[in-house]
C-alpha cells in the first residue's frame, strides 16, 4: 500500500523479464573463442590476427555478460542455498573469460576450462529447470 510515511520502491527496470534463459548462449560464444584460438595458431597474417584478437575480446565479454545475466536474473536465493558451489562457479567462469583467461590470452586450454565451467553451470541450470 502506498503511503506518505514509508517510501515504496517502484520498478523502472530495464529488463523485460521475459523468463527466457539458457546457458547455451554463453557456450556458443565460448566455442567461438576456442575456434578463433585454433584459427590464429594456423595463420601468420598480422591483419587476420588483429581481427581475431578484437573478436575474441568481444566474444569473451559476451560470455561474461551471458553468465552474469544467469547469475543475477535467473538464479534465485533458494538455488544458491541448494547449490552452494554456484557463486564460486560463476566467479571462476567469468574470470576464465577475463583478461587472465580467454580475453587476454590465446590459450586453448583456458578456452576448454571455460567451456567446462559453463557446462557445470548448465548442469545446475538443467536441474533447477527440471525441479
Amino acid at each position: 500500500m502506498l503511503s506518505l510515511f514509508r517510501i515504496t520502491d517502484v520498478s523502472a527496470h530495464c529488463d523485460l523479464p521475459c523468463g527466457v534463459y539458457d546457458p547455451a548462449q554463453a557456450r556458443i560464444e565460448a566455442e567461438s573463442i576456442k575456434a578463433i584460438i585454433a584459427k590464429v595458431a594456423d595463420n601468420p597474417d598480422p591483419d587476420f590476427r588483429m581481427r581475431a584478437t578484437i573478436i575474441k575480446e568481444q566474444r569473451s565479454e559476451l560470455v561474461k555478460h551471458h553468465l552474469w545475466v544467469l547469475w543475477t536474473d535467473y538464479f534465485k536465493a533458494p538455488h544458491f542455498e541448494k547449490y552452494p558451489q554456484l557463486h564460486t562457479l560463476f566467479n571462476e567462469a567469468t574470470k576464465l573469460a577475463g583478461a587472465a583467461g580467454t580475453k587476454g590470452e590465446f590459450d586453448a586450454g583456458k578456452a576448454d576450462e571455460l567451456l567446462g565451467k559453463i557446462d557445470e553451470i548448465a548442469r545446475v541450470f538443467a536441474e533447477t529447470k527440471a525441479a
Binding site: 502506498l2 506518505l4 514509508r6 517510501i7 515504496t8 520498478s11 523502472a12 527496470h13 521475459c18
Partner: protein, 116 residues
C-alpha cells in the same frame, strides 16, 4: 472495514515512492524519490505508478513507474503505457494496455534527486 474507511481509501491521497532502475531515464533516475497521488485519475502524458500484468511464466511483476502515453482507442478505460528511456523498459507493446484500476497513482513531482 467501516463504510467511512472504504470511502477514505478511495480518496486521492499523497504517497512517496523511490525509483529503481533506468527505464524512465532521463526524467527519473535510480534513487529518485517521487511524490505521487494515489487514487488520482489517470491523465495522458503523466508518469504514473502502475500494476503490470504477470509475466509469461506467471510471475508477478513489481509495482512500476511508467508514462501513460495515451488512452487505448480500442478499449475505453484502458491506458497505453511506455518508458521514457526508449531503449529500455517494458511498454504496452509487451504487456498490452492497462485498466484505470491498474494505474495506482499519478506522479506529482520529484522530491529528491537520486545519486545514481
Amino acid at each position: 472495514m467501516s463504510p467511512w474507511r472504504s470511502v477514505l481509501s478511495r480518496l486521492p491521497r499523497p504517497a512517496l515512492v523511490r525509483v529503481r532502475g533506468r527505464s524512465m531515464w532521463p526524467t527519473y533516475r535510480e534513487g529518485d524519490v517521487l511524490l505521487v497521488i494515489a487514487g488520482a485519475p489517470p491523465r495522458a502524458g503523466r508518469a504514473a505508478v502502475v500494476r503490470l500484468p504477470r509475466d509469461g511464466a506467471g510471475r508477478a511483476r513489481p509495482l512500476s513507474v511508467k508514462r501513460l502515453t495515451r488512452p487505448d482507442p480500442e478499449r475505453p478505460g484502458h491506458w497505453w503505457v511506455g518508458s521514457d528511456n526508449s531503449v529500455e523498459g517494458v511498454s504496452s507493446l509487451d504487456v498490452g494496455t492497462l485498466t484505470s484500476e491498474d494505474v495506482v497513482a499519478v506522479v506529482a513531482c520529484r522530491v529528491r534527486r537520486g545519486l545514481g
